[in-house]
């Protein structure tokens, strides 16, 4: 059993007829993902990759048994689309859009919490359990990155994920479930909220987190380890160790203010909790070898 999605998880695609929606629906299906329906307002009756399209989520949910929704919806329509999915009772939502307004993400996260649902993203590539299922867009056909295996990965960054994961694979491992939390300052779900799932997953031997400067997500993970939420080994790689202070480099979440949110403070918190922190992507692989191959 993988985390969040598995071979049998019945998935809806919102925005299925769009350019990205239809392209990645084809890829998700090719990988074996169980997509049962799609939604695009005004396109009901169409088929995308033999998948029926509906005007609304409510209609799709009425006709199909749906457990999760994958959103290929532009940032300005994301809040509406997520709330529509939540309102229809869907508990697992992935939204990849980059550039969702901050006030919208606050509302999305608030509503998701009230509904006891998980919204993964925005500003992410999504979730993948290589060889089983994928919600999002990953170059899953590049085997030196997306080889199935027993390492769980959570990340705040897209392209860095490919970099670090390729090091995990070249060290002789593979990936159980990779979850893109996203690079926004307020993601729909935080690292720490997913830790219990990795702890409970019998197919995951160790967890890798790919973090960066800014925010406090990595410090929260350190606290959770101390509290015993995760007892499996955890290796972190954190980008932006030498970034100049006060400059907004890349992700909106990645700003250093005062003494908080620096890679230094995150490293200290994680190491104090017994986690391992790699200085370079390659070290993630060698640390895993030291821990798991002895």
């Amino acid at each position: 059993m993988s985390i969040f999605i598995d071979k049998g998880t019945k998935i809806l695609v919102q925005g299925i007829t769009g350019k990205e929606g239809s392209y990645w629906t084809k890829h998700m299906k090719a990988m074996g993902t169980c997509i049962v329906a799609g939604v695009t307002p005004s396109k009901e009756g169409q088929l995308v990759e033999d998948i029926p399209v509906y005007h609304t989520v409510r209609k799709a949910v009425a006709r199909h048994d749906i457990e999760a929704s994958m959103l290929f919806v532009p940032p300005r329509f994301t809040k509406d689309a997520v709330l529509e999915a939540l309102d229809a009772g869907i508990k697992k939502i992935v939204t990849v859009a980059d550039g969702i307004p901050l006030h919208d993400t606050l509302e999305i996260r608030q509503r998701a919490k009230e509904a006891s649902a998980y919204v993964i993203g925005g500003n992410t590539s999504g979730v993948i359990s290589p060889g089983k299922a994928m919600m999002g867009f990953f170059p899953y056909w590049i085997e030196r990155v997306y080889k199935p295996g027993r390492i769980g990965i959570m990340t705040r960054s897209g392209s860095l994920t490919n970099e670090v994961t390729s090091m995990v694979v070249s060290a002789g491992f593979g990936v159980s479930t990779l979850m893109g939390i996203g690079g926004d300052p307020v993601p729909g779900t935080r690292f720490v909220e997913m830790l219990p799932f990795y702890e409970a997953d019998h197919e995951t031997d160790a967890v890798v987190i790919i973090g960066e400067l800014g925010g406090t997500m990595e410090e929260e993970v350190a606290t959770a380890i101390k509290l015993g939420v995760l007892t499996k080994p955890l290796v972190a790689f954190l980008g932006g160790r030498t970034a100049p202070k006060g400059k907004k480099m890349g992700h909106a979440g990645a700003i250093i203010t005062g003494g908080k949110g620096s890679v230094e403070s995150k490293t200290k918190a994680l190491e104090d909790a017994g986690a391992f922190v790699a200085k370079r992507p390659r070290q993630v692989g060698s640390i895993l070898q030291n821990i798991l191959m002895q």
């Binding site: 006030h103 606050l106 867009f137 392209s159 970099e163 935080r190 960066e212 929260e220 932006g240 890349g250």
Partner: protein, 375 residues
């Protein structure tokens, strides 16, 4: 997008928050008109987006017209590119407070903070004496309630007319925060006068760039950027920051870019610029390379590992850019991801070496920057 102080104060005034009498000076020759409005003594505040203006000498006090004239001339000539000065009446201050509204990402709520000590470095108070900071968290779906404001005002030890004024000000600041899609609204210092009136001494407002499509009041002009090149980059939609090192970065993805930045430092190299060549920009190789060539770098390092941003399209763009721009410095390419095999062919055909390992690419760039040849 950060607003200038005079813009923040215009918003304050719009919602009925007290501000000092002021005049926005764009030419020292209008100083008389300014003084006529504000009287003396007055304060001359340079309108730049840098923090720590006081320490940098960008805020000056003047007790009369002659002094004001002299200081205005001095500020306009400073190397900090002062285009406007906000001339304000000097306020007779009884007390200074701090109030701000921002976001708590952990609980995903709007966070209102206040402190009895204003006008000082609030970040150092937050680190050293966090107990002094009063916090109230607001659910954005239900919005601010009167009790939030009462909690804040009375926790600040205020009473009577002053407490009421602070409550009103917090509610109005929240209104600005919500209406303008702000990331931060801050009043520091918040002046309390001897007769209990509250006046915003300084204001900082930062708006969410992602929400600009529904906020038409402000647009990013050249004024908001430190250099022409950063402004040019922003107009192309390319995230770009200028540094003064040797290696120009063209990297895809914020996380990978900051990691390459770290690796360069570990190898003893220096970075000439941060540039994101990914997301919607992956077809803009020519524009990205032009930005890199406009600075003093010794080598351009291209590192990508993307999915939607296809490697073959990037490689093609890079090759075309080289043909058009004829760069005067070496280019190292490490382009991977979707269609990477096609990318390798395109780059090889153009005579470019393709490195498939980030660390190796970084080592090579640093060696070239140092004038060493690497075997």
């Amino acid at each position: 997008m950060k607003l200038f102080e005079y813009q923040a104060k215009a918003l304050f005034q719009e919602v009925g928050i007290g501000i000092p009498k002021s005049y926005l000076l764009d030419d020292a020759s209008h100083i008389e008109a300014a003084i006529e409005k504000t009287g003396t003594p007055c304060v001359l505040k340079s309108q730049v987006l840098k923090g720590g203006r006081g320490k940098a000498g960008l805020i000056q006090f003047a007790d009369g017209l002659d002094a004001a004239n002299e200081k205005a001339n001095l500020l306009f000539k400073s190397p900090h590119h002062v285009n406007r000065i906000l001339v304000e009446e000097a306020i007779d201050i009884h007390k200074e407070l701090y109030v701000s509204i921002t976001v708590d990402p952990v609980e995903s709520k709007v966070l209102i903070m206040a402190c009895r000590e204003g006008g000082v470095d609030i970040e150092s108070i937050a680190i050293h004496t966090p107990d002094k900071i009063i916090m109230e968290k607001v659910d954005i779906t239900s919005g601010i309630q009167p009790y939030h404001c009462r909690n804040m005002a009375y926790s600040l030890g205020l009473d009577g007319q002053t407490a009421k004024q602070v409550m009103g000000m917090i509610e109005k600041l929240y209104h600005i925060f919500k209406t303008y899609d702000a990331e931060l609204v801050e009043v520091n210092p918040l002046f309390v006068t001897k007769d209990g009136h509250c006046i915003a001494g300084d204001g900082k407002i930062s708006l969410d760039d992602n929400a600009m499509y529904r906020q038409k009041t402000f647009t990013k002009t050249r004024d908001y950027f430190e250099s022409d090149i950063e402004y040019e980059a922003a107009r192309e939609g390319i995230p770009y920051i200028q540094f003064d090192g040797d290696i120009s970065l063209m990297c895809a993805g914020a996380g990978l870019t900051t990691t390459v930045y770290d690796l360069i430092h570990d190898e003893g190299g220096t970075v000439a610029n941060y540039l994101e060549f990914g997301g919607p920009n992956y077809r803009k190789a020519k524009e990205a390379m032009e930005l890199c060539l406009s600075n003093q770098s010794k080598v351009i390092l291209i590192v990508t590992f993307g999915t939607i941003a296809r490697a073959d399209v990037m490689a093609k763009g890079v090759v075309e850019a080289i043909k058009k721009l004829q760069p005067d410095r070496p280019i190292i390419t490490c382009i991977r991801g979707t269609n990477e095999q096609e990318a390798v062919k395109i780059l090889s055909d153009a005579g470019l070496e393709c490195i498939f390992d980030t660390e190796e690419a970084v080592r090579k760039a640093v060696a070239i920057a140092e004038g060493r040849a690497l075997s």
